[in-house]
Every structure is written in structure tokens, then in C-alpha cells.
Symmetry: C2
Subunit: 354 residues, 2 copies
DNA sequence: TTGTAGGCGTTATCAT
DNA sequence: ATGATAACGCCTACAA
């Protein structure tokens, strides 16, 4: 492998000159430039980025950490991040944790060792809050969509609790009384931030409307497709289905609907189902899924902006973006016309048929 | 930011000793080690990876390049790559091209500048073959699932042409005569490797069975969900539907089915549809989709193994792994019992109900 | 067991 | 316009 020295020697100039040509910087005589370019071409030389990065003490790369790329929810967020990053000359690299602490720590390490200039985390829920707290103070890190307990951590997402209130409220307004819930595991708020907040919002609405929430109708199965599937399997074994189910993710809603169907029930005929996230599949599925939409692309953009600010040494902040209820085919109203309900806010409610 | 020198000074030792403690190498007196560790702790020091990488001339990181993380097909491949990589101390970073040449080139650059030790490409189709050829010769690069025209490029995937033959053959064996095709754009073999090969295999089977392939039944719309949707829109405008359609991707098959349904047609009642890739959704969708399964996890593992070999200086090779036909609900037989057909090979055909 | 010093490949400062 | 040289932070012979 050739180095800048080899090029310099071959072109009969100093390494400084080669570097100048390489970086298109300063004034280099046209003929000299040509000589250097010839040498570069002849040797098929390309500069070593490690040397460059070390010298500049930056890499112009940022890391996006998520649980797995099979989670469709992240794709539009990443697009937002990438677009903003490109505008500022940064390259985006994605790392997946697959919910392994060990892997998450490896990504933290990459930031501490300066192998990337900063990172956006969408999967931190199994990391100790105090550690996350220290790291986000010391390094350019921002979280997106998965809230950390400590409010000081730079964060971009939606108001999950209010969004869940709006979702539950919508189901109530449709006349449903017995409403079930699919949510994150039997864990504390530290570990399932968004799911915990959604559960909280949901419970409040039930309470405010004087609707009992049966223990049997709460399925702490997680947020994946299989979570929904498992919930359905338990549900059909019990006597009588709930009127409706609020799943804290579209994936879970999909799994629920499909497995209910396999067991001979139809949605929304036998039961209404509502999801969360407005992933591509929620629109495409049959029936298409009523859900809560997050402004994913915009979340990505703002997360990147926050990160750039942090890299530039500025303070982090916390930004909550607006959500929206998307009415589709998986829910039906038991009333002629939805009426106002306790949780009703000014959140936009749109109707979108897939 | 502190450096190894600061730690050395604070601990009252030389940088060499600190380095030794850092790398757990050689013998360091217990007391000295403790002093150093204390200094590290006190300063919250963590070594600079850029300096380390430069010194070692390696990063222990590899890059996986794909078009977009919203393409579900890649997720299991990546898992295979990650698992093998972890076994050898490598960290996997993912980059998305979103089908932009400029972004692809940036990833090539990362390899040339040694910012990663190697790369696996699953999205190269818009890169000039001769360039790809040079790069794969000069750097540790392997391609997966998207064949390059030049056979010398290290590659792991399936025999796309044969797989398409088997798929088409299956449809023929079901008694379908008029069979349509959804495939990649109006492009040459250099640009749509896998889709081109699948089209080729499909055409051969039609020909061998004396079945005419109508121009109107070929939809060069691409391989995304929307590709299938567009195909459906055109299809319903024509007079009479084909008996069956072979889509070169599950995503396209899904789009087709969904849009046909929207237009009042049912699958497989009115038309049989077959996909390709056996993505998670193909099983989950209603109707579940008959498709061609690729051993994705295994492809990922072997791609990583090939890459490790290339990094170690060995020659690349070309590996084709076995595929399998998965029969589900989206196709139906017009005969009592499928009979043997021209393309019939010993490919496994399994029946899996979602 | 520990320290000294050279070098990894680059960029940038300061001369010339 | 160009060259010599000192960093950037780390690791590792080699010496002591």
C-alpha cells in the first residue's frame, strides 16, 4: 500500500505539496499539480483516512444505533438523519444492538474512542440511566423516540403519553367499553420508556371515562409482531373478546390481527384494533390499521440538527413533535358518529384508506 | 480531552506502562497497575481509537452496504454477518445508498481510505462493472445477493436463474398457461443482476413449455411494493387477467395482491401470485405468499467468512447456496394434483401455512 | 518490571 | 509556490 511519501517521491515534490493537491487547498502551480495527479494515478494511491482523522481529530461520521433493521419503524427516521447529515458533510453509519447490552456498549465505546463524531440512539432502554446520563453529558449523543428518564438528555420524539391518551380516547369515542392493551414487558419505566408512557396515557383515559381495565386484557408481551401473535393466542382462550385492543406498536397490532384471523375472528367485525407508529405495513395490511402517526422524517432531521449542535459544543435540548391519529379499517365505531370524549385534544385526526 | 500522556503523568509512570495496562498486555506490577487505573478513573480517560487504529493499521470494523433498511429482505442476512463478525472481534456498520451513486461512492471511499477493514455489498447494481471489478480486486470486498457480471468478484447468493426456473415451473405445474412477470426496470444485465437472471430463467421455462409470454404481461416496474401496485393498476385496465404472475420480489407481490384486492379481484381466486425472497411479510400477509426462499442467514455467514478470508489476504470465491420453493396461499392449482414440469429439478418444495 | 523513542500517514505551520 | 518539520495519540521494539 502506498503512502503520501511514495507519491511525493514519484512526483518529485514534498509531501506537503501532495497534501495540498489532495485537499484542493491553497495555490499549487498547474504543472506541479499535474505531476502529482499523475503520480497518484500511477500508484492508484488513495490517502489513508486513519492518518487524516487522527490529524484532524474528527471523522465526519456519525452513528445511528437501533435495535434491528427489521423494525420498519426506523426507516423514515434514518432517512431524515441521512439527509441532514449529508448537507453537513457527515456520513451516517448504522449499528444494531439486537437488544444485547454488550453490543450497545460497543457502540458507546466507538463514541468514546472518537471513531465517530457523535451518535443518535433509538435503542437505549436496557442501559442504566446513570450511565446514559454521564455519556450524553460528556459526548455528543442524542436520543430519538425512546425517551430516557433523565430529562436533561437531548431528545427528539413525540409526547407518548398524550399520544396514547388520544388513541385510547378515539377508541372510547367509537363506543368501545372493554378495551385491552398490548404493551412492553413487565419492566420499570427505566427500561421501556415509550411503552411505559403509552400505557400510562391509556390507563388514564380508561379511568377518566369510568371504564374498568381488566387484568386479563393487559398483554405484556412486548412490541413485536410475535408479541401481538401471542396476545391473540391468549385472548382467544379467554371467554369473550374485548371490544377493542390498543397495541403500543403497529407490529404488535399486525400480529394480533393476523392471529385472530387464523382463529376465525375478523377485524374490525369482531374486535377493533389500533396500532402505533404508522409504519408502512399498517397502511398496506388488510385490514389497514388505525394508528398513531409520528412525524418520523422530521424526527430524524431534528435529531441530526441537535447532534450537530452538540458536536459544535452547544447544550442539548428536548423536543416533542406533534403526532396524529390515522383512522383506517381496523377499527369501527359502535355509534353512528363518534362523540367527544374525555381525552379529546386538538390532535389532528385524519382518515386514510390504504 | 485527556490523552495517554496525561494519564501517565498523573500516575507517575511512562506512557508505555499505561498502554500496557490499557491492553492488559505483558506483566505490570500490581501496584503500578492500580495507580494507572486510578489515574484513568480520575480523568475519565478513554483511549483515542484514531491513534490506535492508525498505529495498528486496522479498525476491526466492516461495512455492510444496502439500498435501504426498509427493504426487509436484508435483515436476516445482516444477522448472519453480525454473528460471524462478532466471533472474530469485528463490529458491523451498515450504510444505505438509497440508490444514489454518490452515496455508494462514499462507501467505496471509506474502504479505500481504510476507515473500515472491508465491506459486503448488497447494492451495487448502479455501479460500473469495471470499477467494481478493480475495487474488489484491490480491497477486501464481497458481494451478496446482487450478482456482478464479472465472475471473479467474491460472491455469495443463490442461483437466481435456476430459482426462477423452479418458481415458474411450479406455476406451470399448477396448470397456469398465461403467466405474467414483474421484474426490474428496462435495463441491461449490468444493472439489475438478480432480476435479470430471474427474468431469464422465467422466460426459458415458458418457452420450454410452449407457453406464449405476452408483452402486455411483462411489467418492468421494479421490485418494490409500489412496483407491484403499479403493475396491478395496469393489469386491471387490460382485458382479462393472466392466470398467474411471477413477481421477482415479495414486496412487489404484496403490492400487486393488495392493489388487485382494492380493485375487486382476489388472490388466488382470480389470479395466482408468486413472490421471491421469503421475507417475513410474505408469511404474515393475507393471503400468505408462495415464494422462493433464500437461506438468508447462511448467506450472511458465508459472506462474512469470505470477507474475513479476503482481509487475511486470500483469494475470493463464488458460492451459490440452495434455494427452496415455499408454497403458501397466494397460488392455487388448476389441476387436482401438480404434475411434473419441464423445469423440474430436485429443489425442495415445502408447504408452509402462515 | 518499566522507560525511551520511533513511527503509523496525514495535515498544517512556518520558513524560504 | 514549495519544502521541512512538528504534531495528532497510540503501540511496541529495544534498552535498561
Amino acid at each position: 500500500m502506498y503512502t503520501i511519501k511514495d507519491v511525493a517521491k514519484r512526483a518529485g515534490v514534498s509531501v506537503a505539496t501532495v497534501s495540498r493537491v489532495l485537499n484542493g487547498t491553497e495555490t499549487v502551480r498547474e504543472q506541479t499539480r499535474r505531476q502529482v495527479e499523475e503520480a497518484i494515478e500511477a500508484l492508484q494511491y488513495s490517502p489513508n483516512g486513519l492518518g487524516r482523522n487522527l490529524r484532524r481529530l474528527e471523522t465526519k461520521k456519525i452513528l445511528v444505533v437501533l435495535s434491528t433493521i427489521s423494525n420498519q419503524f426506523h426507516s423514515r427516521i434514518v432517512r431524515g438523519i441521512e439527509d441532514r447529515a449529508a448537507e453537513h458533510g457527515y456520513t451516517v453509519l448504522i449499528g444494531t444492538t439486537r437488544d444485547r447490552l454488550e453490543t450497545l456498549l460497543r457502540y458507546f465505546e466507538m463514541i468514546q474512542t472518537r471513531e465517530v463524531d457523535g451518535a443518535i440512539f433509538m435503542s437505549t432502554h436496557f442501559c442504566k440511566p446513570e450511565e446514559a446520563d454521564f455519556l450524553t453529558q460528556a459526548y455528543p449523543i442524542v436520543c430519538a423516540c425512546e425517551p430516557m428518564p433523565d430529562g436533561r438528555i437531548p431528545y427528539v420524539g413525540i409526547d407518548d403519553e398524550q399520544a396514547a391518551r388520544d388513541a385510547a380516547g378515539y377508541l372510547v369515542s367509537c363506543g368501545h367499553k372493554r378495551i385491552g392493551l398490548i404493551c412492553g414487558g413487565k419492566l420499570t419505566r427505566d427500561t421501556y420508556g415509550s411503552s411505559y408512557l403509552r400505557e400510562k396515557g391509556f390507563r388514564k383515559v380508561m379511568e377518566e371515562n369510568g371504564l374498568p381495565l381488566l387484568e386479563a386484557d393487559i398483554f405484556r408481551e412486548g412490541l413485536t409482531y410475535n408479541s401481538g401473535k401471542r396476545a391473540a393466542q391468549q385472548m382467544v382462550r379467554q371467554e369473550g373478546l374485548p371490544d377493542a385492543v390498543f397495541a403500543c406498536s403497529d407490529a404488535a397490532a399486525l400480529g394480533l390481527i393476523r392471529e385472530l384471523y387464523t382463529n376465525g375472528y375478523t377485524v374490525p367485525g369482531d374486535i377493533s384494533v389500533m396500532g402505533f407508529d404508522n409504519t408502512a405495513m399498517s397502511e398496506v395490511f388488510y385490514p389497514s390499521v388505525t394508528t398513531v402517526s409520528q412525524p418520523q422524517y422530521e424526527i430524524g432531521c431534528q435529531a441530526m440538527e441537535l447532534l450537530l449542535a452538540r458536536i459544535a459544543g452547544k447544550e442539548g435540548e428536548r423536543r416533542l413533535l406533534p403526532h396524529e391519529i390515522i383512522c383506517r379499517e381496523s377499527t369501527r365505531s359502535k355509534k353512528a358518529k363518534p362523540e367527544s370524549f374525555a381525552a379529546c385534544t386538538n390532535v389532528p385526526i385524519s382518515t386514510s384508506e390504504a
